[in-house]
């Protein structure tokens, strides 16, 4: 299961999508909306996606992470639209015969998601709003990535 949704994510459904009696470990990760960024109070977040490419990238990353860690299953749902503090923006589940692979795969997947999946987050503060990572982001613009395909993600 790989999906984008505009409503709350059903974390239990994401877990069920990877459940198998061959697994000795199932890990479910919730990425949630934090109330502060570098000490500045966040009011809410707006997520935007390029849906067909986001799903295609999620699929490419899922294939690579499943292969690299020998997973039995991987499911990920990312929410878009307006999210309030505490809401889950992303839920990821991994299943593996043993815990280390399932745990390591979660971090690997999230790192790749944050680098290559075309989803953007706008942080809304009391006195303004900013697309995270862009040049007008007061937290500092990210270094421009190499413009070509990121082979490391495949």
């Amino acid at each position: 299961m790989l999906a984008l949704t505009e409503g709350p994510i059903d974390g239990e459904a994401v877990r069920r999508a990877v459940a198998t009696t061959a697994a000795g470990a199932v890990v479910v990760f919730h990425g949630t909306v934090r109330d502060r960024t570098k000490g500045r109070a966040v009011r809410w977040l707006e997520y935007e996606a390029y849906p067909p490419m986001a799903l295609a990238e999620l699929g490419r990353i899922a294939d690579a992470v499943t292969r690299d860690h020998g997973l039995l299953g991987l499911a990920c749902v990312h929410r878009i639209g307006r999210l309030e503090l505490g809401d889950a923006a992303v839920v990821l589940a991994t299943a593996a015969p043993h815990r280390k692979a399932a745990l390591d795969a979660v971090d690997d997947f999230v790192v790749r998601l944050k680098r290559d999946v075309p989803i953007w987050k706008k942080e809304v503060f009391e006195d303004g709003a900013v697309w995270v990572g862009t040049p007008d982001d007061p937290q500092g613009a990210r270094t421009a990535p190499a413009p070509g395909p990121r082979e490391g993600a495949r």
């Binding site: 935007e48 290559d116 999946v117 075309p118 697309w131 995270v132 862009t134 413009p147 395909p149």
Partner: protein, 89 residues
Amino acid sequence: MRRVESGAVRIEILYFAAAREAAGLPAETLEVADGATVEALRATLDARHPGLSPVSRTARFAVGERFAPASQRLAPGDVVALIPPVSGG
């Protein structure tokens, strides 16, 4: 294989997030020289939309829903997206 660089090709451009706000629109159709590269398109878009260049400078491009190198040549009907630094998760 050498392409014949003549005429113009019609492509679609998609803008997201900071790029959409800087360009002032979510999408447009545009004609570029046949054989134009992604890098040449970046300059074309900067000239077309004042204020886009700070965003386009840090953006990657996707062609047909895949990240494309700056040297990639554009073909008729290509759907090209500006991908500002992503921040999902």
